[in-house]
């Protein structure tokens, strides 16, 4: 990568676990460099002292290492050749294929002018009723799964990706286990959709700081397809918790004062810069982001899920329902903030009210269960709620459901009819008259 006229520095003055510093001049902020052949980026300039963050880590770097500045920020070559390929965090192919030819674009580019955005409104049908009925997704939305590490979030996400009719699916894997990486690769190739997939993968075997480049790499590729090709692009980011951990490592090495949960004070802005790349462009292209934020013991007050929740347009929770023995999309804690843009507009008119009524009854069932556990007698209504909740979990909330939204609505009306009287359901009279059967 060294060019003839580039000045080579060989005197490093300071080395930490993630950074090294040297005296150099004429260096631009955020510029790339190589240190002993390892890729690094300028993160601080004070007078002639330049601090570099070494993505692979600084193990084995000597103080007389060769440092070459590349005169550019991290970038990715984009073209249609990206499709079907697997890359590492630095944008180099890891599938044995040739280098990509195309326009070189700096990653982490500018934001979309908010007045140029279009309001997302196109329904993304996943067939999973816990999502489509209760937490309807639309293109241009950004939403994470909040899940404990043992939950099957990567499987659900792969399912969603395959069923959602996206033109391109871009996988950004951060700290993915090798097994999960192979899982994604297999699922996509078995489904015969590899030509629609672009993957940027950092596995647990790769250095953690490299992960910081993954989302920007994935989203730069996404912007290429969405802006220049007007395609509908779905970006999968898993696992954003590991991304945030890498941020914390770097900020710690830079002697920054940590805020809540040892996270950097800029965590909100750092995450927002990524998630806000989700957009519906006026020309028809869109970027939808589905991410995974792993929780520790379901704790959503931790800084990572907490900040994420304030940025994303809702969140999806997985939970094992012991009543039916299946993993369900938790109707209480899950939320899609953009659902009203599609519900009742792109789907049948009764959708919003049916959804709310069913969730309310499910809540009544959970109260009844508490009563039961505390040894109190159940009323007839309580018992009917419990039966309803069982069927509702099994036929609607379970992640193995795959039906269209009209079927979901009909199924739910059918459950209302089986267990309740119209006045117990609390739905607008007109709708009851039309659909109560």
């Amino acid at each position: 990568m060294t060019k003839a006229f580039q000045k080579i520095y060989t005197e490093i003055t300071a080395i930490t676990k993630a950074t090294c510093s040297l005296h150099a001049s004429g260096i631009g902020n955020e510029e790339l460099a190589t240190v002993d052949g390892k890729l690094a980026q300028v993160v601080r300039i004070i007078g002639d002292e330049v601090t570099l963050q070494v993505f692979e880590g600084t193990e084995g770097i000597p103080t007389n290492a060769e440092v070459v500045f590349l005169g550019k920020a991290p970038s990715l070559k984009v073209s249609d050749q990206l499709a079907g390929r697997f890359f590492n965090a630095l944008g180099f192919p890891i599938d044995g294929g040739p280098e990509i030819e195309g326009e070189e674009i700096e990653i982490g580019g500018p934001s979309v002018n908010p007045v140029r955005r279009k309001q997302p409104s196109e329904l993304i049908a996943t067939g999973i009723a816990g999502i489509d009925l209760n937490n309807t997704l639309v293109s241009g939305q950004k939403i994470p799964f909040f899940a404990d590490p043992d939950q099957p979030y990567n499987q659900v996400m792969a399912n969603v990706a395959l069923r959602a009719q996206a033109d391109k699916i871009i996988l950004g894997g951060m700290g993915l286990t090798n097994d999960d990486y192979l899982y994604f690769k297999n699922v996509f190739s078995n489904a015969g959709v590899l030509d629609r997939i672009v993957s940027f993968v950092n596995t647990t075997e790769n250095p953690p700081v490299e992960r910081l480049l993954i989302p920007d790499m994935a989203l730069t590729a996404a912007e290429y397809f969405a802006v220049q090709k007007n395609e509908k692009v779905l970006v999968l980011l898993t696992d954003m918790t590991l991304y945030a951990d890498a941020l914390a490592i770097v900020s710690n090495r830079m002697d920054q004062i940590p805020s809540k949960d040892s996270m950097p004070g800029s965590l909100y802005s750092d995450l927002a810069k990524i998630y806000e790349k989700a957009v519906q462009f006026p020309a028809g292209g869109s970027i939808t982001i589905i991410a995974v934020t792993t929780l520790s013991g379901g704790d959503i007050t931790h800084a990572i899920p907490d900040n994420t929740g304030y940025i994303t347009e809702g969140q999806l929770f997985l939970r094992r329902d012991s009543d039916v023995g299946k993993v369900i999309i938790d109707p209480f804690r899950s939320l899609s903030r953009l659902k009203q843009l599609a519900q009742g507009k792109k789907t049948r008119e009764d959708h919003p009210q049916v959804m709310n009524a069913a969730v309310r009854l499910f809540a009544d069932a959970s109260n009844a269960r508490t009563k039961l556990e505390n040894g109190f007698d159940l009323t007839n209504y309580d018992e009917r709620c419990l039966k309803f909740a069982h069927d509702y979990s099994d036929k609607i909330l379970a992640i193995d459901v795959n039906i269209n939204t009209t079927e979901m609505l009909d199924t739910t009306w059918n459950l209302f009819h089986t267990y309740f009287k119209p006045e117990e359901v609390n739905i607008k009279q007109e709708l009851v008259e039309k659909y109560w059967k």
């Binding site: 001049s25 260096i27 631009g28 902020n29 955020e30 510029e31 993160v43 601080r44 300039i45 004070i46 007078g47 700096e106 580019g109 500018p110 934001s111 979309v112 002018n113 908010p114 007045v115 140029r116 955005r117 279009k118 309001q119 241009g140 920054q256 004062i257 940590p258 805020s259 809540k260 004070g265 800029s266 909100y268 802005s269 927002a272 810069k273 806000e276 957009v279 462009f281 007050t301 931790h302 800084a303 929740g309 304030y310 940025i311 809702g314 969140q315 209480f332 939320l335 903030r337 709310n356 309310r360 809540a363 009563k371 109190f376 007698d377 009323t379 007839n380 209504y381 006045e423 607008k428």
Partner: protein, 582 residues
């Protein structure tokens, strides 16, 4: 002017070596290639000036040149701001080209070519001072007063005012003479530094006039007033934004300014899409006509986020000085506080709680105090009602931003996770939330002119029933349904009637979304009539069954056009049901 050279860069904090005087908070421009990046002085240490750059510093080098401007961050005030979408530094977003924001792009926030129908209000010989009204133009059907610039000190004599007619904003519309006989030409625009409050009023009394929002849980239970302050804290997913949008759509204000501060871009897009279509329930005109949006979404530069709330407040103060009723909404002030934290952190200041700057609470307090109801020098009134949302980390209301805001704001609308989980929207906790204004005798006096009878007494009794209902519910949870007297169930279900019929409101239903004061009065009377009756039931199942039916019919009323045939039919059903129990 002072110039300088870049000496160091850490993210968007840049150290500059300077050759002359600079002042704190002065604006400067850093040239990088063909682009000029705006920055603000945060700290001066001998020859080293620390500036925060409002945009990305990627590619910036040591030695790049810096030019200082000699003034603080200013906004340009004049007719033509309504309906516009500005960024945090008052650049008109619609004037920017391309889909993506380009670094260093800026533009003039007003329209220099547009002709305005000017009517003089002052005449030659009048004594005037800063903020005196010289004339007015019509801006989106509202009077926009052309004032003596706020920066002008002392008294002046009007020498001349142009005749009524069409003028551009930069045309001279009046000449005023100062005490020394020097003439000053006045046009329709003026500038003001955003971090300084505009104080051109004679008196700032306690606010007392109800600001109707059409949201029952606010107007009925915890009213906000013209010139009042309130805040809405809530964990994510509890409906902060929906509630805030509802208030901004429905509030009885002349001007609504929405500062989208570090929040989701799609939420701003929702406003862009809806407001030009939706109708102001009070005037019948399009909502966008009275609205200004200051959008600094979460992916836009962090430093400009802090500026955005000040930009919004300054524009609000400008319209207040014209005698207008302004509603300012900021979503969310936590993001603003986080921007402060990021900078304080980079400047290596000693941190306060949760790494926020030590003076956070004072900064919040000073900002909220810029709102208020005022008497202007000409006897007119104006107001800025300010409602901010707070996004407490982890939903914990004991964090510094919430606590700092609680000290400053007079209304508290606590959004609650468990209410949101049960889909009881708006998820405002009816027991913890409060409005201090309801205790003001001035307010009570005012509300008597709007609603007959002892309204406040009724509201207080309603709250008592809610409180009692909650206590009884806890007892039922412990003792079981049949472990308590049937009466307890009646008490509980009365509180549920209030909850379902008054407190809950469907923001997505065309009719239920807006509840005018008259209708709120009617519904509270109805609900209190239900709650203040005696009922006799044999067992708790009957209680539940009866009240559920009652609630269902009441809700159908909420969904029906006020006093329509359908509405009256439901009312009749309720009366029949009430008669059953006699």
């Amino acid at each position: 002017m002072t110039t300088g050279k870049v000496k160091g860069i850490i993210s968007n904090l840049v150290t500059v070596g300077v050759d002359g005087p600079v002042s704190q908070n002065e604006i400067c421009y850093i040239t990088i290639g063909k682009v000029r990046l705006m920055a603000e002085v945060l700290k001066v240490n001998r020859d080293n000036v620390f500036v925060q750059v409002f945009e990305s510093t990627r590619g910036l080098r040591v030695g790049d040149t810096v030019e200082f401007t000699g003034h603080m961050l200013e906004v340009t005030l004049g007719p033509g701001m309504l309906s516009r979408n500005y960024d945090g530094l008052q650049n008109d977003l619609d004037k920017m080209e391309g889909v993506f924001l380009r670094r260093g792009e800026s533009n003039f926030p007003l329209d220099e070519e547009r002709l305005w129908d000017f009517k003089p209000l002052a005449k030659a010989g009048d004594k005037v001072e800063a903020a005196s009204w010289l004339g007015e133009v019509e801006e989106n059907f509202q009077p926009h007063r052309i004032m003596v610039p706020f920066v002008m000190e002392g008294t002046y004599t009007v020498k001349s005012v142009v005749a009524a007619g069409k003028y551009k904003i930069k045309d001279t519309i009046a000449v005023i003479t100062d005490a020394e006989g020097i003439d000053h030409e006045i046009n329709m625009i003026q500038k003001w530094p955003v971090k300084k409050a505009i104080n051109v009023h004679v008196e700032k009394p306690r606010p007392f006039r109800l600001l109707e929002t059409g949201v029952r849980i606010i107007d009925t239970a915890n009213p906000i007033v013209e010139g009042g302050t309130g805040f809405i804290p809530g964990p994510f997913g509890t409906g902060k934004t929906v509630l805030q949008h509802a208030i901004s759509k429905q509030a009885d204000a002349d001007i609504v300014i929405m500062a989208a501060c570090g929040e989701r871009a799609n939420e701003v897009v929702e406003i862009f899409v809806e407001f030009p279509e939706l109708v102001d329930p009070h005037t019948g005109r399009k909502l966008m006509e009275r609205t200004i949006i200051i959008a600094n979404t979460s992916n836009m530069p962090v430093a400009a986020r802090e500026a955005s709330v000040y930009t919004a407040m300054t524009i609000a103060e400008y319209y207040r000085a014209m005698g207008l009723k302004v509603l300012l909404m900021a979503d969310s002030t936590s993001r603003w506080a986080q921007a402060l934290r990021e900078m304080s952190n980079r400047m290596e200041e000693l941190p306060g709680q949760d790494a926020f700057p030590m003076d956070l609470s004072a900064i919040i307090g000073a900002f909220y105090s810029r709102a208020g109801f005022v008497y202007l020098k000409n006897g007119q009134t104006g107001s800025i009602t300010f409602i901010g949302t707070v996004s407490p980390a982890g939903g914990n209301l004991k964090e510094p931003v919430t606590e700092g805001t609680k000290k400053a704001a007079r209304c508290f609308y606590a959004l609650e996770q468990s209410r949101a989980d049960r889909k009881r929207y708006p998820a405002v906790n009816p027991i913890d939330s409060y409005s201090k204004y309801i205790e003001y005798p001035e307010f009570e006096e005012y509300i008597r002119t709007k609603i007959e009878g002892d309204w406040i007494g009724k509201v207080t009794r309603m709250k008592t029933i809610l409180q009692r209902g909650k206590e009884v519910q806890e007892q039922i949870n412990i003792l079981g349904d049949d472990g308590v007297p049937v009466d307890y169930h009646v008490t509980f279900w009365k509180s549920e009637v209030i909850d379902f019929v008054i407190l809950q409101q469907d923001a997505f239903d065309k009719i239920d979304a807006v509840c005018p004061l008259e209708r709120q009065e009617y519904m509270l009377n109805l609900v209190m009539d239900i709650c203040e009756r005696q009922y006799h039931f044999d067992n708790f199942n009957d209680v539940m069954e009866y009240f559920k039916r009652l609630i269902n019919v009441c809700r159908q009323m909420n969904y029906s056009e006020f006093k329509s045939e359908k509405f009256e039919t439901y009312r009749k059903q309720i009366d029949d049901m009430l008669a059953e129990t006699k």
